[in-house]
């Protein structure tokens, strides 16, 4: 570790170290079969979600009035059956998968941005500022999450489904950044006293520059791991919101919403539950295995 740091010149501090670290991690990730399989599964799922709804023969909101809640069949290509309104389940699952992944990725991005900026600033500045910023996080931690989301979702109430989706990103992201900020702060504290930060300070960098150019790139490892493991959590959170009726609104749908609708029809039309639940399980498994693989690959102790 130290000899790498000694190689660094203030002009290119991250590039040199960054490349070797990431290259190293990539190689170790590729040796982990579960992670590699998950990577392929995720690639397939993302492609399916991105292009599937356009390529599939039915649209997700197309209604077949004479084919309501029919079991999986080859007639009219309803491979996974139809729902209680008569909409094709394949199209709905593909569309719901897309929305769920979008919610997961976008909310993680929101959480990441706030959490990294907040945690890095608190950890780097230290002292009173750090104390105040982290007590603020503690207070937010103690307010139940549902409450936050409910208030956020109702403050900016909107009947427009797309605006509502944006709101879900913001609401979940606004809750999930807390853990992120704690992780980043811990890392930032250990980085604060390191040589390259001192070198940057000696070279006349402002605190802002040090935080965003020198601290943030160095905490990316744990951040990436947390982000990967956080996407499944957010997808589950969204399904919870759908359950209480605050999630994705019609005509849009998500895996969580489909599962909710499926559990209501579990006894009479089990295919309405099985298809979205399996899709969600596969997605979450892949993301979890990928996150675990990344965390092993980026763990400095394993090198």
């Amino acid at each position: 570790m130290t000899d790498i740091l000694l190689d660094e010149t203030p002009s290119a501090p991250d590039v040199v170290k960054g490349r070797s670290l990431w290259e190293d991690a990539r190689r170790r990730l590729m040796r982990n079969p579960a992670a590699v399989v998950s990577l392929y599964v995720m690639a397939v799922l993302v492609l399916l979600a991105a292009f599937g709804p356009f390529l599939w023969v039915h649209k997700f909101n197309e209604i077949f009035p004479d084919q309501v809640a029919i079991a999986p069949t080859l007639t009219d290509m309803h491979l996974l059956g139809t729902d209680t309104v008569g909409r094709d389940m394949v199209a709905r699952v593909l569309f719901g998968l897309g929305i769920s992944l979008l919610v997961g990725a976008a909310a993680t991005l929101v959480a990441l941005t706030i959490g990294v900026a907040w945690g890095a600033t608190a950890g780097f500045l230290g002292g009173f500022v750090d104390e105040a910023m982290m007590r603020f996080v503690d207070v937010l931690y103690a307010i139940p999450f549902v409450f936050f989301v409910i208030v956020l979702m109702t403050v900016v109430q909107s009947d427009d489904a797309t605006a509502n989706l944006l709101l879900i990103f913001m609401a979940i992201g606004a809750v999930e950044w807390l853990t992120m900020s704690r992780i980043v702060r811990g890392q930032a504290i250990s980085l604060r006293k390191r040589e390259f930060v001192e070198a940057a300070r000696a070279a006349g960098a402002t605190p802002m520059q040090i935080v965003f150019r020198h601290i943030v790139p160095n905490v990316l490892g744990p951040v990436v791991v947390f982000a990967t493991l956080n996407i499944p959590v957010i997808i589950l959170t969204e399904s919870f919101l759908s359950f209480i009726g605050l999630g994705v609104q019609e005509p849009l749908t998500s895996l969580g919403r489909l599962i909710k609708e499926g559990t209501d029809q579990m006894v009479t039309s089990p295919w309405m539950l099985i298809a979205p639940a399996t899709t969600m399980l596969v997605t979450l498994l892949a993301l979890n295995f990928l996150g675990d693989g990344l965390s092993d690959a980026l763990d400095p102790k394993e090198r």
Partner: protein, 309 residues
């Protein structure tokens, strides 16, 4: 240690005040109020109602009055259930949620902790992979799927356990089995993973190597030397998680139709029952603070490095 605990409790008071103020302003920032109904009330009646509950005052003043009430031990009247105070509603629901949460956490600690230890001791063997696969599936299955599924299997198909509710003629433990399992599954998954990771680390520590070198039997090495240290991360996780579980789970309470405060809370937030929402937030925050404190104290007892001679 005692002074530490007392000092923490003193810090808890301003923290609690901040939480109350934060939740109070957030709640009042949401549009609508407890008396906003589909059917419009005559404005003078609505104004009288608002006056009666003090809702016509500035929010800061309302907060002052609320905190003043709290100091006298008064949680206020519910704004939606006209014949009940918040204390009544909490007293009805909190025991159910607390029993569920405690049961789920006990199960999770025993089962998750045990599985984690087994996985760590048999690292990279079949048992390890089995436990980890189970844990990862447990994290991925949302309670809103597991709950109805178990109701269908155990309650309807096999008819061995009651599906929902808490009483029929008398209280029976059977009613708690499915909800407790549903609530504890994600906890089991997380705890077993935490336990495995920290146990592996503990088994590699110098203390364990010394214990082995002394010739202690392996069982004693694991139970007496590795386990107390390995339990530390689990305890820091279990503290706040127990608070969350005891404050009620909306999904579990809805699926199994149990009268807990988790359900009350979500309904109250939707109906803008300001005082009831604040009551549940208060219960939750107090639980969080207390269990964090207890977790820290347990930490001190277990961790030989922070133990003062």
């Amino acid at each position: 240690m005692l002074t530490q605990a007392v000092r923490r409790l003193f810090v808890a008071v301003p923290t609690l005040l901040c939480i109350i103020a934060g939740a109070f302003f957030l709640m009042h920032a949401a549009p609508g109020g407890p008396f906003t109904k589909e059917r419009q009330m005559p404005p003078e009646i609505e104004r009288r109602l608002e006056h009666q509950y003090g809702l016509d005052l500035p929010v800061g003043e309302q907060l002052q009055r609320y905190v003043g009430g709290l100091l006298r031990g008064d949680l206020g009247p519910s704004m939606v259930y006209k014949d009940k105070t918040v204390a009544d509603i909490l007293a009805e629901g909190a025991p159910t949620s607390a029993v569920l949460g405690l049961g789920a956490m006990t199960l999770a600690l025993l089962l998750g902790g045990g599985l984690g230890v087994v996985a760590a001791v048999r690292q990279n063997k079949a048992q390890d992979y089995a436990v980890m696969a189970l844990a990862i599936v447990g994290v991925c299955l949302p309670p809103l799927v597991i709950g109805p599924l178990m109701q269908l299997l155990f309650g309807i198909q096999w008819g061995v356990l009651p599906t929902s509710g808490l009483y029929r003629d008398e209280f029976r433990l059977g009613y708690l089995v499915l909800p407790v399992i549903t609530l504890s599954l994600p906890l089991v998954a997380i705890i077993s993973r935490l336990m495995r990771a920290s146990m592996i680390e503990a088994l590699r520590s110098n203390a364990v190597r010394t214990a082995r070198a002394k010739g202690l039997p392996e069982a004693q090495v694991i139970w007496r030397h590795a386990l107390p240290v390995a339990m530390l991360p689990v305890i820091s996780y279990a503290g706040p998680a127990l608070a969350g579980a005891m404050a009620g789970s909306f999904v579990v309470e809805t699926v199994f139709q149990l009268p807990g405060i988790g359900k009350q809370f979500v309904l109250a937030a939707g109906q803008r029952d300001y005082t009831l929402v604040m009551g549940v937030v208060l219960v939750y925050s107090v639980l969080i603070i207390v269990f964090n404190l207890l977790a820290d104290l347990a930490y001190r007892v277990l961790d030989p490095r922070t133990r003062t001679p």
